[in-house]
Amino acid sequence: MNSLKHKLFFILVVTTGLIWLAATCWIYVGTTREVENVLDSRLQEAARMVLSLASSNDVGSFQKDSIAHADELLTYEHQLSCQIWSLDGRLVARTSGAPDESLSDNRTGFSERTIQGEKWRVFTAEDPAKNVRVLVGDRLGLRKTFVADIMRGLLAPLFLIIPLLAFLIWASLNRGLRPLQTLAEDLRRRNVDDLTPLKTRDIPVEIQPIVSSLNNLFKKVKEAMRHERDITAFAAHELRTPLAGLRTQAQIAMTAPDENIRKTALSQILFAVDRTTRLVRQLLTIARLDSESDAPLKSVNVGDVVEEVIDALPMSDKNADVTIDPVLRNTIVRANRESLLLAIRNLHENAVRHMPQPGTIRWSSETTEDATTVLVEDSGPGIPREELALVTNRFFRGRNRSSLGSGLGLSIADLAVRTSGARLRLRNRDDISGLRAEMVWDIRSPQRPANAAHTSRPYWVRVWLRMSGRSKISEAPCP
């Protein structure tokens, strides 16, 4: 299992164990050396002591009791053995644990010798004046036992401490990682629709970035979902209201006793059907633009397209006084011709629809080093400042709405302009009341969004929507 807690626990226990082991080795080495030093100086001390005792008497007068005396002096836990030799090689006395054989061949100082399978460490001191050589030794085996005892004393608590330490590490980890656990639990328990921000109080600094970026994500997804919901709501309104009108008028036509009322109702039905037809056409256009957004760009003469659009307009839309600037005939842009035609038609229709009769519409273009701009100006009421940013939203209908509109015209124009490789800029005219719509082709950066329809929605939002089963809405904004 890939668990942070388990990993940390493992790392902490192993490193602590290793540190303990290293410390134990160090202590072992140090203790061994120290014990040797101490015992060596004890050997030396004892030898000198025996030598000094022996010095006051003649070697020949050594009696058993003096040996017993030495024995008493030196048999500290029977570790030390002592031999007193005359310089001519006669064993004068020895302690009870000492072997008969000489403990050392060495004249003086420290030496080691194996006697009867046992290793001895011996210090030899001699006094030629007294004709005496004193050998004091102890068994190395005993020394090792002594060090082992010390080590055992040190290690025994360690084995008790390690489980305790492990338990403490585990408990501390639990305690330390609790904020993470709480966060995980909070997220796990959450409904997929629950996008309320996580609480940021009492959160450790280390996970603060996670929490705040999660909260950021929640906020963005929430906004995207609200946008999505708004579009659905607008779509529902725009589709159901004409149906309600149709149904009401049909009921009137069926039940009204008066011939005139019936006729009016039927003409209203016709009007509503025409309007709904236009709405359906627009929705299909959006769907097509959404799917056609990666069609190849070609050089297109804008003047030709504008003329084609105006020629194809129905009579009812030809009342305006339309001027086409001759410069348009020389304006060539890189665009998808079909999309450009749609964009121009929608912008032109928008101008015609929102203008009191008689109005003027003027198509022209401006070319600078940076961009080619194709623009259309009308003499209508323009768009209120606060609505300028909203009018390209699907189904948005501003204050200066026409009765036939559905809030899709400018959003189609925007989409079509983007599919044509340009961007749409709307602003009110400075000179007189009216709207100025600009299609801007940037020359420096001729890149085009891969999928103009979806670029407004970041990748992660789409992923989120797909995860939470909203992909249908996200792919088809108009149910």
Partner: protein
Amino acid sequence: MRILVVEDDSVLADGLKVGLGLHGATLDVVASCADGDAALATDEFDAVVLDVMLPDGSGLDLLASLRAKGERIPVLLLTALDEVPDRIKGLDAGADDYLGKPFDLDELAARVRAISRRQQGRASSYVSYNGVTLDVARLTAAVDGNAISLSRREFAILSALMDRPGIVFSKSDLEARLYGWQEEIESNTVEVHVHKLRGKIGRSKIETLRGIGYRMRTASS
């Protein structure tokens, strides 16, 4: 019954005006929250049919602001959003009823009648007073059990008087009930209708208070 319709779709608004008119109501139609607010401030209505999505804002906000002002007029919300949460939101904002688009015209008329009569404290569509009985749903009237036939205007005057018997209605009160904004009012039309009404239901049923107005005469007087 005078109803204010706040709906911005021209076909639907026209349909409501004609359709509810056929059900005996007088309608005024406005197309925005601001106009709706202004209409309610200047005129008296029996009920409001309110669209939620309006060009200058949400009908729910208009409704909430009306309720905040203490306006108790019955409101029926008419909207394309008729999922359960939307309906709950609408009712909690102060709506008396909720109808999703598209709807049946007769059902809408019945619901509007229902919310307006509840406002007047009645549970059924029958109004009865001093021997005169009105069926507001079927636009029929009867005096002492005998059915009589009334014109739309006569019915409107009689039902206005019978909604609050004993209360005096001035000539202009009754005119407001009879005519929407666009309709031409003739100067003596209320007198003419009252005269005709008296001929049909009996002279003594409606009392004239000279210079003030009309009211239903109580049984005892």
